[in-house]
């Protein structure tokens, strides 16, 4: 589905979060000049259509002791990457999992999985769990640790288009 003007207004009003009040949807609806019922109907439609992934709490990994993360990358047989990628995505310690194009000869990897753990050692052990799942379908792998944040800006709603 494609969000219409009203949906985009709802996205803009909620992308930084819901207010912590007993009736958060009513509060947002009032701000937007909608009824609470219409707002909730549109939110449900966006959730069903995949525009809203989920409505939830995102805890700070660091505050909960998840201080280590690594971008693991894998060279996986193209015929099996869809099935195996989904198995990797289902792991609780993987926060992002994508198939991306290889860039031969510099970059043979086509599956990217971000691994989170409480230490570098734990991340390495979790990486082994993925290696075991991929088995002989994987011809090579690596892991890239971030050593510095150079820029951090959230992805925001782009302004134009209605």
């Amino acid at each position: 589905m494609t969000p219409d003007t009203t949906d985009r207004a709802i996205i803009a009003a909620t992308q930084s979060g819901l207010p912590l009040v007993p009736h958060p949807y009513a509060a947002i609806a009032t701000d937007l000049g909608l009824s609470e019922d219409e707002l909730c109907t549109r939110l449900r439609a966006m959730q069903a259509g995949g525009i809203i992934r989920r409505i939830a709490v995102a805890p700070n990994h660091y505050a909960l002791g998840m201080t280590a993360n690594g971008m693991s990358v894998w060279d996986v047989d193209g015929a099996q990457v869809a099935t195996l990628g989904q198995r990797v995505g289902n792991l609780e310690f993987v926060s992002h999992c994508y198939e991306r194009p290889r860039a031969l000869p510099d970059w043979p990897y086509n599956l990217f999985a971000m691994i989170h753990g409480s230490s570098r050692d734990e991340v390495e052990a979790l990486r082994q769990t993925i290696a075991d799942i991929l088995g002989s379908a994987c011809q090579g792998h690596d892991i890239l640790y971030s050593t510095r944040i150079l820029k951090k800006t959230g992805l925001r709603l782009r302004s134009k288009k209605g």
Binding site: Q15, Y98, A103, I149, L150
Partner: protein
């Protein structure tokens, strides 16, 4: 802040989802068997203490409009900081990390259209004299990621 068992219960429960309902906190409070006012107050405290980064709808980035692409560059040590400054001046660069690999700079480009991704990448190449590798997503796998609180 130090989290107690109730805080952890709330964090674990609300990572799974939050209802679209006129009284959503009441619904959750009933499930957790705590008063609604206490639930809201604990969420406020955890948000203020930055234990909660975000609470609300998580939108699919592409559905919010625009195009996104993971990019990488291989920058020699002596030039790294100068190139990072050049790359970061582009408003289309949304995050940028130094990573342990020959491809040592990884960032996301966010633009209005697909074509602009390549245009911005070409501008960065011309400006820095270094190649930009593009790694657009071909397929995204459903994620079950949770942090045990």
């Amino acid at each position: 802040m130090t989290l107690d068992d109730t805080d952890r219960l709330i964090l674990n429960h609300l990572q799974e989802g939050f209802p679209i309902d006129p009284n959503p906190f009441q619904v959750v409070a009933k499930e957790l068997e705590i008063p609604e006012a206490e639930l809201i107050e604990r969420l406020e405290v955890m948000k203020a203490a930055r234990v909660i980064t975000r609470f609300g709808p998580f939108y699919d980035a592409a559905a919010m409009g625009g195009a996104f692409c993971l990019c990488a560059m291989a920058i020699p040590d002596g030039e790294f900081d100068a190139v990072a400054r050049q790359v970061n001046t582009h408003p289309e660069v949304a995050h940028n990390y130094e990573r342990t690999h020959r491809l040592n700079m990884w960032f996301v480009l966010a633009t209005e259209t697909r074509d602009e991704i390549e245009e911005v990448a070409e501008r960065i190449e011309a400006q820095t004299g270094h190649r930009v590798w593009l790694f657009p997503k071909l397929q995204e796998f459903f994620i079950r990621f949770r942090v045990a609180a």
